[in-house]
Symmetry: C2
Subunit: 207 residues, 2 copies
């Protein structure tokens, strides 16, 4: 979506984040990708904020992780973000830009650097660890240390999801909103769906 216009769903999402902010897990969501074998993958990741001045969603990742492999095969992902306090679900579908050390765009490399320093030093240490996904045979924990002023290490990859479609569901009010954008014209089509016959929409049975 355009960086110059704020998507109508963004304020709804910001409100949900705010209403649930007392819960540690409220910034966790599930990210689905497609592997090179054509099968789905799904894992919990941490919301790292919106890219400045845009509606794009940031996620930190290890370049060696399976999802990077998946995204190289298919650059689309779908977020499913359920807020347990307010009973709201956001499904956010879009293309993911992977910004790693090899990126040639100075602006993107700057974004990656900002994301790196936005994380705690402890969280940065993670990227010095073993190859993710492989069991460790080493009995001794490594004693990696990190200069807090040092920039991103090679394994640090910033993922930036650019939403194309957002499906919002509020299980308390029975409100459902579907947002989509024609990328060339940046027009949002907003459909407010009336509550179904029964008061509670049961999860996942309708869609």
């Amino acid at each position: 979506m355009s960086s110059s216009a704020t998507a109508p769903w963004k304020q709804i999402l910001l409100n949900s984040i705010s209403s649930n902010s007392h819960l540690k897990h409220s910034i966790y969501f599930q990210l689905a990708t497609v592997g090179s074998n054509g099968r789905p993958s799904n894992r919990t990741v941490v919301f790292r904020g919106f890219q400045d001045g845009t509606d794009k969603i940031q996620i930190n990742s290890d370049s060696r992780s399976r999802k990077i492999e998946d995204l190289k095969h298919c650059p689309f992902a779908e977020v499913c973000w359920y807020f347990t306090e307010t009973w709201e679900q956001f499904r956010i579908h879009g293309r993911v830009d992977m910004i790693d050390a090899s990126n040639s765009d100075p602006d993107k490399l700057r974004q990656r650097e900002v994301a790196w320093f936005a994380g705690s030093v402890r969280s940065r240490l993670q990227y010095l660890g073993l190859t993710p996904g492989l069991p460790s045979l080493d009995e001794q924990p490594s004693n990696d240390s990190l200069d807090p002023s040092a920039g991103p290490v090679d394994a640090f990859c910033l993922l930036v999801l650019d939403p194309e479609k957002v499906d919002y569901l509020n299980l308390k009010s029975n409100e459902r909103l579907a947002f989509s954008t024609g990328r060339s014209v940046n027009v949002f089509f907003v459909a407010c769906w009336k509550p179904p016959t029964i008061q509670n929409i049961l999860f996942g049975e309708y869609w």
Copy 2:
């Protein structure tokens, strides 16, 4: 996985369900599928228990929903189930069997019937509603009623996920267990991974 042997991850999952059972949302998880366009979909669904005597996971669905279309294209799905109280994540990958009214197997139709009656009458009413995924233009809510003793309606579809791989992560103990099964021999390979160097595995950056 075989119906005659209990998978080693099942007891861990049952413990997690039990430890989090005071939270309404603890039986919700995210189900990722792949659409006919090759892109991922992701939505929250409700755990409807294990199929009797097996490790297979049951989910109720509307035959008209998007995920049924997805599963006809690619029968594999991945569950991501995060327990917010105990900080545990289960990623469960497997093939999904769709049991709808047209199924020719009497045993499967019986399972579908059992699943139908296991739901509340109110939840069953949902399947009499409008086509899912389409906005309603009708101002009047429909007055569908349902005989509580009536069997499953056409739109009711039981999904049964047969796990092939399970990845368990405990963020409190830093324990990670990977289970997989060779389907022909039904042997589980269990790998207990040592904690990484840092104490907290940050979500989704490693995998």
